[in-house]
Amino acid sequence: MGLHTTNYKGLLGWIDARMPSLMSAFRTHMSEYYAPKNFNFWYFFGSFALMVLVIQFVSGILLAMHYKPDSNLAFWSVEFIMREVSGGWFIRYMHSTGASFFFIVVYLHMFRGLLYGSYRKPRELVWVVGWLIFLSLMAESFFGYLLPWGQMSFWGAQVIINLFDSIPLIGRDLSLWIRGDFVVGDATLNRFFSLHVVAVPLALLALVVAHIFALHDVGSNNPDGVEIKDHTDANGRPLDGIPFHPYYTVHDLYGLGFFFLAYCAVLFFAPEMGGVFLEGNNFSPADPFQTPQHIAPLWYFTPYYSILRATTSEFVIWLGLGALFLGVLAYLRVRKRWARFGVALVTFIVFILTTVPQVRLDPKLWGVILMALSTMVFALLPWLDQSPVRSIRYRPGWHKVLVGVFVAAFLVLGYLGMNPPTPVSTVVAQLCAACYFGFFFLMPWWSRMGEFKPVPARVTFAAH
């Protein structure tokens, strides 16, 4: 009859006989996916991120039923949802709180990868796909932030799109093409709505599936950074691995309780989060004739925005010197002739474009380049990190200090980006930007220096 021989009974057996790939997928990704048993709380954030994705999809679908992407109606339709749609305030706060929580959770998820070297071979693709998710998420949030059509929505979009102006030759046409008008207007709102609700979510969904597939092909890393597949039993199952289902499904369910506690605390008691998650100025409708005194992007973009603003003409010279220093280090490090040539060429170009007055690029353009680089550099981590061990647990103590400095620099940049710049804060932001890029680009050198602790053969685990 052409039916698959099934081990399942009843309805499941009926389905399995006709569509064996369903249960096979369940086995591959859940009941027979072996995850290390020594996961700590840092490993919750992946499933939290998946949960937030679901929250955003559900609340977003409900919002789109009442929202109107029209520059005359958008602002009022959001407030209409808050007042006239039953439970509308709940749907809207779910979505706005979810957006901020998405970034909190994703940043912590990425930080876990950094701590335990989860991007190291053979997990480079898991990391790179994850980084693409991060970029899509930033695009998604940028497009979505225009939709309430408040003052911050409007001026934030205006400022960010104008950044494209600084690209030589094509800049002005490019920003015009993005906006669809000479200023942010109805055309911009409509296309951002389309991108926010159709295009980017589709990309996100596909990338999340790819991220999980890539992970399940190579298996999860763990806090010890040891490979559990090196020690298997007679059936080829890792000795330190346990089936994801049911062990980690119940574990993550427990963790999700804590996630929802934090999420609901904000949603029900501080949805504006003191003006950080929902900015006061965005409760005024967009007015193209009234520029707010201070324009800042939402908190999760402010570290990169700070780097953009910190790139003054004095800083560009330091940037050139930094690039020269890095270029010399890299030249001495690489052996192949063509690689040396490439390093020398890139260093030379960057150096003259930052220091020689006749050809140097506009500091604003360097700011845009550095801001773009600050989000791109994450993708290089698997190759920048040359440490002989994966996990921070077995690295020298001062590596932890460097990670601490990086985190502090990231947070200070984030804080400064929310506030108007002052002479002092610009210098602090420049120092933090130097720490930020230094952490990444000097990693090939510092990550292999120092005394490493011996890595155990098996994971360290204390029964619960």
């Binding site: 574990h251 369910l253 427990y254 929802f260 609901c264 400064l416 929310m418």
Partner: protein, 286 residues
């Protein structure tokens, strides 16, 4: 992990050092206990309908939403609605925005979400409006004859002037000013200058400018009402009005917090069950 937390502590220190000194008017704290006080909300609604709704609309607010602050249709119709609006209508005004712009220089903003719109990381919208509405003083030099300590050269006149009675105002501003260089001597320099402006009840100002050797830039103000009792009564009336504006900015806020308590309670139970389930399943993992 310790070094990471030390890094965070260092970051916190840097941020504290960066705290900027305020150049704006200090805001009086709005008596927040009125937020859920029905009597205050109703009195605020009355002030709103009588004083604000002539120029400002609240076009997202339906009259019958006032049921939430214990007013019924009859009361709304009899005491609050002027003209031929129905209780199912929203609080709009007859004034045409084009005229408004002509008369005031700027159309008066819609007040539906004004408290939230004036929220900022530095201050709450309620404190801002409570101080703004009580911060008017007579100033002959402006078009309306009024000025404001929170919003200098505001287009809006003092709507409470009759009830408040005349007030004298003293404004003290300390700021750095450029002192132009003498033609033959070096670049211009900055001096700390204190300007004390005293406005009498008719808005005639006496300015007193002194150079300071030391001090911090800042702004301070004080009022001396001719009739302190009347001014105090207006303070209370404005506090009620701000309570109403605050409620109107998010009518669902109380429902939100009420449901929130239940949600948190449920989640605490959920975490308990989750913990139990987790420990049962993980018992055999050694």
């Amino acid at each position: 992990m310790r070094s990471i937390s030390q890094g965070l502590a260092a970051a916190a220190w840097v941020l504290t050092c960066l705290g900027a000194s305020a150049q704006e008017a200090r805001l009086d704290p709005w008596p927040a206990e009125r937020a859920a006080d029905l009597e205050a909300l109703q009195s605020g609604a009355r002030t709103f309908a009588n004083y604000c709704l002539n120029c400002h609309s609240a076009s997202l607010m339906r009259w019958n939403r006032l049921h939430d602050i214990a007013l019924d249709d009859k009361q709304i119709k009899a005491n609050l609605i002027f003209g031929d609006q129905r209780v199912t209508d929203t609080m709009t005004v007859a004034m045409n925005p084009h005229d408004a712009k002509l008369w005031f220089g700027k159309a008066p903003p819609d007040l539906s979400v004004i408290v939230r719109a004036r929220n900022a990381v530095e201050h709450s919208g309620t404190d801002y409006l409570y101080t703004l509405l009580r911060g008017f003083y007579r100033d002959r030099s402006t078009q309306t004859g009024w000025n404001n300590v929170v919003y200098p050269n505001i287009s809006m006149p003092n709507i409470f002037w009759e009830r408040q009675g005349p007030r004298e105002a003293t404004l003290t501003r300390i700021e750095y000013q450029d002192v132009p260089a003498a033609a033959d001597k070096g670049p211009s320099r900055q001096r700390l200058v204190q300007t004390v402006s005293q406005f009498d009840a008719n808005g005639v100002a006496v300015l007193n400018r002194t150079e300071l050797d030391q001090g911090e830039p800042g702004f301070a103000y004080g009022f001396r009402p001719v009739d302190p009792a009347a001014a105090k009564a207006v303070d209370s009336q404005v506090a009620d009005l701000v309570a109403y504006l605050n409620w109107m900015s998010e009518p669902a806020a109380q429902t939100r917090r009420r449901i929130g308590v239940w949600a948190i309670a449920f989640l605490v139970v959920f975490v308990g069950v989750g913990w139990w389930l987790n420990s049962v399943f993980w018992r055999d993992i050694r």
